[in-house]
């Protein structure tokens, strides 16, 4: 999954990185095919090149290895908001068929079953980046028909919703999971299974997806991780041990 996510990033892109899986994948891409990938973290670090993976989005290693560090208001107002970032790289607790993300609550807002961390930078990352890539483990309780709370809007309730709200970025263009890849259908904006990882069956993916999953006609199989990808991934150490 991390390798597949890393592959979505192209060299020279500017990437606004959420913590956890996205940070791991973005840093893998930078070590492989995208050495000029510009990593921006919401703590204000621009152009970070950490030698070890950070545990939080504000680790010292991000500041020390950055091209420049700016304030938190500046990173959101001057760098994210005007639409200068190519890719926003996010994760979530729940994702629905239109790519909307929930990181706020499972259940009712006022009496939740599970209280999640909340929005952080995600709503505006998804609004303003030219495109959004989502990395999440594929599980039925996470891939739901409709999210309990829209923390971060993907394609809303279907095509045209982003446009109607004046959101300028394209929204989620790829969802990478441990089972395969989902991409929004250009007509319906609904997430469709476009590729599975080697050895994964469509039935497995369907079983872990909470909506009637549409399968692309030309369903692909992702290339297995290369030797180089795997060895680079294994060589990446997190500051501390219990990495993102």
């Amino acid at each position: 999954m991390t390798v597949a996510a890393a592959r979505t990033l192209r060299d020279g892109q500017v990437c606004f990185v959420g913590i956890g899986l996205p940070s791991r994948a973005a840093n893998l891409a930078r070590r492989l095919h995208a050495p000029e990938l510009v990593l921006i973290y919401e703590s204000g670090t621009i152009g970070s090149r950490p030698e070890e993976l950070p545990l939080s989005i504000g680790d010292g290693i991000l500041a020390e290895s950055a091209r420049t560090v700016v304030s938190v208001p500046e990173i959101f107002n001057y760098w994210l908001q005007p639409g200068r970032i190519d890719v926003g790289f996010l994760s979530g607790a729940q994702l629905d068929r239109f790519g909307n993300i929930n990181t706020t609550v499972i259940g009712e807002y006022d009496e939740p079953t599970v209280r999640l961390p909340g929005a952080g930078g995600a709503p505006e990352i998804a609004a303003h980046c030219r495109e959004v890539v989502i990395v999440m483990r594929h599980a039925r309780r996470a891939f739901v028909e409709g999210v309990d709370f829209v923390t971060t809007m993907g394609h809303g309730s279907g095509p045209g919703d982003r446009c109607a709200l004046g959101l300028r970025g394209a929204g989620p263009t790829t969802v990478i999971t441990d089972l395969g890849l989902l991409e929004p259908d250009p007509e319906t904006a609904e997430l469709v299974l476009t590729a599975v990882h080697e050895g994964v069956t469509v039935e497995q993916v369907r079983a872990e997806t909470g909506w009637e999953l549409v399968i692309a006609d030309d369903l692909a199989v992702t290339a297995p991780p290369s030797e180089e990808e795997l060895s680079t991934l294994r060589s990446m150490r997190t500051v501390g041990e219990n990495g993102p």
């Binding site: 560090v69 807002y109 909340g118 709503p123 505006e124 809007m153 919703d161 219990n242």
Partner: protein, 271 residues
């Protein structure tokens, strides 16, 4: 002009932090003012509105200790580890007391501090579009651009009664210098009615340092020396983040008894 007074941390908290205050302890993963938070716990402040973009362990501890009536925030977790269990327990079970929340996005919270620091009642941003957040907070609204007619989000200014931040150093006159990830600290201090800065050390002269910001003594009420005052978070140039402590907190905070034992131990220690 009133310049910062250099005093002890217990004195500063006693003088500046009152029951019922809106208190902001800021520091974005870096320079989190833990020592000051612990002193507020020791002095048993109550009914505080705790304001912070990223309630971290320090707010989990203060909530668990019963200091807070309300939390204003945008991301509440133990970064890289998991949940804030004391915050969850307060929300779900009202233990040790019920906790009200006011929830924003980071962009919204950052701009609320900017408005507060700028003496404006609100800030404008492109935000919250298509999300459920505005349904649950009264401090998000809309404004219309008088030139283009476009509708944008507005957030209400944040002006805490007191803001507390931690910095690397101050000079003897009370001027403060911090560098590395400086987050929203300048805005949080300038937005506040009163402010306290804890520092690693007091020096004769603030050597110019790349990336450093300076808060002049005349915008600060008190400076208190608190070596390792940001631990287990970090102070760039002084000490690293204690990731093991962040992970250890998960187990302590999951259990009320273990937390209570931790709390008693904290209260027994002098500041």
């Amino acid at each position: 002009m009133d310049v910062a007074t250099i005093m002890s941390l217990p004195e500063a908290v006693a003088e500046l932090v009152h029951d019922g205050d809106a208190v902001a302890l800021e520091g974005f993963t870096h320079l989190i003012p833990f020592a000051a938070g612990h002193e507020i716990i020791r002095q048993e402040r109550r009914d505080l509105t705790l304001v912070r973009m990223t309630p971290d362990l320090v707010y989990d501890q203060m909530i668990g200790a019963g200091c807070a009536a309300k939390l204003v925030f945008s991301w509440g977790g133990n970064p890289g580890v998991g949940s804030l269990h004391r915050m969850r327990d307060a929300l779900a079970n009202g233990w040790p007391r019920p906790l009200e929340i006011e929830e924003h996005s980071h962009a919204g919270m950052a701009n609320r501090y900017v408005a507060g620091a700028s003496g404006l009642p609100f800030a404008v941003l492109r935000g919250y579009l298509g999300t459920d957040l505005p349904l649950h907070t009264s401090t998000v609204a809309t404004v219309t651009c008088p030139f283009t007619g476009e509708e944008l989000a507005a957030v209400a200014a944040l002006n805490p009664d007191v803001t507390i931040v931690h910095a690397q150093r101050a000079d003897r006159a009370g001027n403060v210098q911090l560098w590395g990830i400086t987050g929203v600290q300048k805005e949080a201090v300038l937005a506040a009615k009163r402010s306290l800065v804890t520092v690693e050390e007091i020096v004769d002269e603030l050597e110019p340092t790349p990336g450093a910001i300076v808060l002049p003594a005349w915008v600060i009420d008190a400076v208190a020396v608190a070596p390792r005052g940001a631990a287990p978070s970090y102070a760039q140039g002084y000490y690293d983040r204690d990731n093991a402590a962040y992970r250890a907190w998960d187990a302590i905070s999951r259990d009320r008894d273990r937390f209570t034992a931790w709390l008693e131990e904290l209260k027994g220690r002098a500041s």
